[in-house]
């Protein structure tokens, strides 16, 4: 899986599951939390999604706002 594929999967998850708006034109470097798109509750959910989807482990202190 290359970088753009990972980005695409992540964006799809964010748009459908967290924004409830699949049509949102989400930019690659759009600030999600400081841009007022997602609240901080979404962070832990993204963490779990990334771990499950890409089979990686994110240490706790790597997750920060």
């Amino acid at each position: 899986m290359d970088r753009s594929e990972v980005a695409e999967k992540l964006k799809t998850y964010i748009k459908t599951e967290l924004l409830n708006n699949p049509d949102y034109a989400l930019g690659d470097d759009e600030p999600l939390i400081s841009g007022g798109l997602l609240n901080s509750f979404a962070l832990a959910q993204i963490g779990v999604f990334v771990e499950e989807e890409f089979d990686v482990y994110i240490p706790d202190d790597e997750l920060s706002v």
């Binding site: 409830n20 708006n21 034109a25 759009e30 939390i33 400081s34 841009g35 007022g36 798109l37 997602l38 609240n39 901080s40 509750f41 962070l43 832990a44 959910q45 963490g47 779990v48 771990e51 706790d60 202190d61 997750l63 920060s64 706002v65």
Partner: protein, 576 residues
């Protein structure tokens, strides 16, 4: 049945700090507080240290010229100095209040302006803050007569003589203990002033109801202390009864929701409280690997409070954590408000909060909650979760607009009378007079109904949106939209919609744009609005709809008809 012995203990004291002073003498080495830090370390505080640190803060305030009755505002994060800064002023009869700590995205200039408003409006005498905010606050508050004190200027190291120190002022039980500032992030917040008597009555009533046993129970909480439920569950009720309080900052918890479960498992936590959204978040964002080997069977009471209770959230929680021993009967609930310190009703012990499935269309008419039966189409049913039964010494009635008591299942306003109610809105006798009747009944503005002694709450204060436990008023959002050139002034409407997947409400804003032709500009307008709302209010908008002329519905008097706008929004957009 309440524990009468615990209930009677309220009369042993005249201030809420006396039990803390007493415990420091009788059981100095008892661990009173454990703060779980974001970096994995922990701060453990004994009864003697808690007292000594509070005395140090009290003496420092005296040295700064703070006297009995002076209002002291606390602007700092969830750590040990906040505990001392809250308790210390009460030793000298000064009146603390905890200002909400800024969320990471909040615009600090706006935030400090709010502190300044509060200070000048109420004549606050001192602000205690963290070293990093000292300079900014000091220059902003120069000339107001309010001192700005940094926590690092106060040495909280226990001194031997502190052990013998008691109250440093003559404090009457009817004097104000502290002020809770009700939410409402713009304008000057209402201050709810509570007396020592009310606080003592309340915490022992709750402890008696919950059969709190300081030898067995451990309370675990991630709630902020400026929140009534956090303050009571992390400081007031636990320290008054000598129960161990295990706590963590909400910022630490939200990044790692598993920390609550780890704390319950390690400390054998038995009581905890959180708003509804946290049930969904926990179910989604705690990994299997985090839970491996955990035993949550010690968790005997989990109170769901401070935002609408969703039965789907209870289902998600028990499905996720039941396999690790979380007891079904520990899915409890409560209803409360800062004006009564916190609780009004609580779910009885060892009883999962009952649910009531009613006919939705009838409920929406706002008069009756009619039980659904087998003839009711599934899409016309809705299930409510009970908020429990009144706590000891608190009367609760449901009344119609004329003040007449309503029978079971008839919807009306929730009114309460108790020995734990507030003294009034701080320096606002006009507002106070509006909410009390001549017999001492407090009109909550919330709607609900009773079924067999259980209270079901169907709507909080008019138009209020509760997002992740935080109260937001629509006009606060609309003002922000009105400040944007690209949106038509007075033509943006905000309202809340239920989001069962997240277990909370979402903010929806529908805004008319100034230039309907500039379609390309729409994404940037939406981004700008979202950014401004987050910076000003620390919340996120769930859905933004930018529309053309004449979408927004107003009443003939120019007010927003929020329900009509919500219906129109669903009709036009929700089917997408």
């Amino acid at each position: 049945m309440v524990n009468e012995q615990t209930l009677a203990q309220a009369k042993d004291y005249t201030t809420i700090v006396q039990p803390i002073i007493e415990r420091a003498r009788t059981d100095p080495q008892r661990v009173s507080l454990v703060i779980l830090q974001g970096d994995g370390s922990r701060t453990t505080v004994t009864a003697a240290e808690l007292h000594a640190g509070s005395v140090a803060y009290a003496l420092a305030l005296q040295a700064y010229g703070i006297h009995q009755g002076d209002h002291v505002v606390l602007v700092m994060g969830h750590d040990l100095p906040l505990f001392y800064s809250f308790l210390g002023p009460m030793y000298i009869g000064a009146v603390p209040s905890i200002f909400p700590y800024p969320t990471p995205n909040l615009d600090l200039t706006l935030y400090f302006e709010r502190v300044q408003q509060l200070v000048t409006h109420y004549g606050v005498r001192a602000v205690i803050t963290e070293p990093r905010y000292l300079d900014q606050l000091a220059s902003l508050l120069a000339g107001t007569g309010c001192q700005v004190i940094s926590t690092d200027s106060i040495d909280a190291t226990p001194q031997p003589e502190y052990a013998e120190t008691g109250l440093l002022a003559e404090i009457d039980e009817h004097d104000l203990a502290f002020i809770q500032h009700t939410s409402g992030t713009t304008g000057v917040p209402k201050g709810v002033g509570l007396s020592h008597r009310a606080v003592l009555n309340h915490v022992f009533a709750c402890a008696a109801f919950l059969h709190l046993d300081p030898e067995e129970d451990v309370c675990v909480s991630w709630l902020p202390l400026y929140h009534d439920m956090g303050l009571t569950g992390t400081i007031l009720m636990v320290f008054a009864t000598g129960t161990l309080s295990v706590t963590m900052s909400p910022f630490t918890w939200v990044r790692r929701p598993k920390l609550l479960f780890e704390a319950i498992n390690e400390f054998r936590g038995s009581l905890s409280w959180m708003p509804n959204f946290a049930y969904n978040l926990s179910a989604k964002a705690v990994r299997d690997s985090d839970l491996e080997g955990m035993d949550l069977s010690c968790w005997r009471y989990l109170l769901n409070g401070s935002e609408p209770l969703l039965h789907t959230s209870h289902e998600a929680f028990i499905k996720r954590f039941g396999p690790y021993g979380f007891p079904n009967e520990s899915l409890n609930s409560g209803y409360g408000l800062a004006e009564n310190l916190v609780a009004v009703t609580l779910c009885p012990l060892y009883e999962r909060a009952p649910e009531d499935t009613v006919v939705k269309s009838v409920l929406q008419e706002g008069e009756h909650a009619v039980p659904a039966d087998e003839t009711t189409p599934a899409e016309d049913t809705t299930t409510l979760v009970s908020s429990g039964v009144p706590i000891p010494n608190c009367e609760v009635r449901i009344v119609d607009e004329q003040g007449n008591d309503q029978p079971d299942r008839a919807i009306g306003e929730i009114i309460i009378r108790s020995d734990t109610l507030f003294e009034g809105y701080y320096e606002r006798p006009d507002l106070t007079a509006e909410v009390f009747d001549e017999d001492g009944w407090f009109y909550t503005g919330d709607l609900g109904y009773f079924v067999e002694g259980h209270l079901y709450v169907i709507g909080r204060e008019k138009d209020l949106i509760i997002v992740g436990g935080k109260n937001i008023y629509p006009h606060e959002l609309e003002i922000i939209a009105d400040s944007m050139r690209t949106l038509k002034p007075g033509r943006s409407v905000a309202f809340g919609v239920d989001d069962t997947a997240m277990g909370t409400e979402q903010i929806v804003m529908v805004c008319e744009v100034t230039d309907p032709e500039a379609v390309d500009a729409l994404p940037e307008i939406e981004r700008e609005l979202r950014r401004r709302v987050t910076q000003a209010l620390g919340v996120t908008i769930g859905d933004v709809r930018l529309v053309n002329d004449r979408w927004v519905i107003k009443t003939p008097s120019g007010k927003f008809a929020r329900n009509d706008n919500r219906r129109k929004y669903f009709a036009e957009f929700a089917a997408e």
